[in-house]
Symmetry: C2
Subunit: 196 residues, 2 copies
Amino acid sequence: MELALLYSGGKDSSLAALLLDEFYDVRLVTAHFGVTDDFQHAREAAAELGFPFETVTLDESVAEDAVEQMVDDGFPRNGIQRVHDHALETVAALAVDAIADGSRRDDRVPTVSRAAAQSLEDRHSVDYIAPLSGFGRHAVDDLVAANLAVETGPSETVPKADYEGELRAILADRHGDDAVDEVFPDHEQTYVHGRR
Amino acid sequence: MELALLYSGGKDSSLAALLLDEFYDVRLVTAHFGVTDDFQHAREAAAELGFPFETVTLDESVAEDAVEQMVDDGFPRNGIQRVHDHALETVAALAVDAIADGSRRDDRVPTVSRAAAQSLEDRHSVDYIAPLSGFGRHAVDDLVAANLAVETGPSETVPKADYEGELRAILADRHGDDAVDEVFPDHEQTYVHGRR
């Protein structure tokens, strides 16, 4: 069974790939807006893990709307959710049996409710799988430590290919660097360098 | 890492075992009240899958309370949830790093909310993992078909070791066979005979 996993090069989506590897033909798919070439980091991480890799291009107007929403809100949550929903719709249109992402039980954003999952599945005749949604933060940390070689640091310095890099770039371009600091709190990002 | 998986011999908990096998030292644990010897079916299914097996004994008063609740309700849902909660508490007291069950995204009962999961984890210093909670019914069916040899039939005839058999026995003993038919709707059960 062919499965497309939304992939950022970070620890969560990398661990999701390992969990599914035994049961599906997993390909790692990075969704991007064509704004930066951050997706190259995900390509390298995918190669280090030994998975096939491809990209899908998202609609840039979704990024622009998401950025305006983040500025209005003063926090990134709703904007990131909007982009993730759009990315899932885009990946669901690929010719695969199943799609997946790295969302965890304890994530606040992005989230995919049971109703949203079933709607995605029904409309696209595809299974939506969230392999980490039954794992809490501590279990994920243990599994990452045991199975992945990880680089950790602040969002600005660790190479990664989730939407945040492109959304930050659009935000800086439209509203200046201060707006980026206002919208995005400091937090740790991770980047994966292969299996342990 | 040592993991105890609540095990019935059915397809869901068997598939959960396969999903976790690569990442944990999985033992299959059947919780029972000592009312019937149905747990022997789970022991055989565990042996056919090649996992270590053990049992834990539950508090029979929980089964009795659950049965009375089912009779009062006219349906089994709340009683089964009560027994499952008690079983998780019991397994969480074992000397393991993690506990797990076979609950799925689309299950109506038993369910373990995020808050309940975190409470269980905090009180017992254990991870609670629901490996199938990110999989919908269709994805589970596909994975079962690809990975497990399964016998399917009505609840009364397929050997299985979930709580239902013992709860039916207590219910019949206290309220007669008609009460069993009133409380438990007809539904298909599954029993696993090894891997494919």
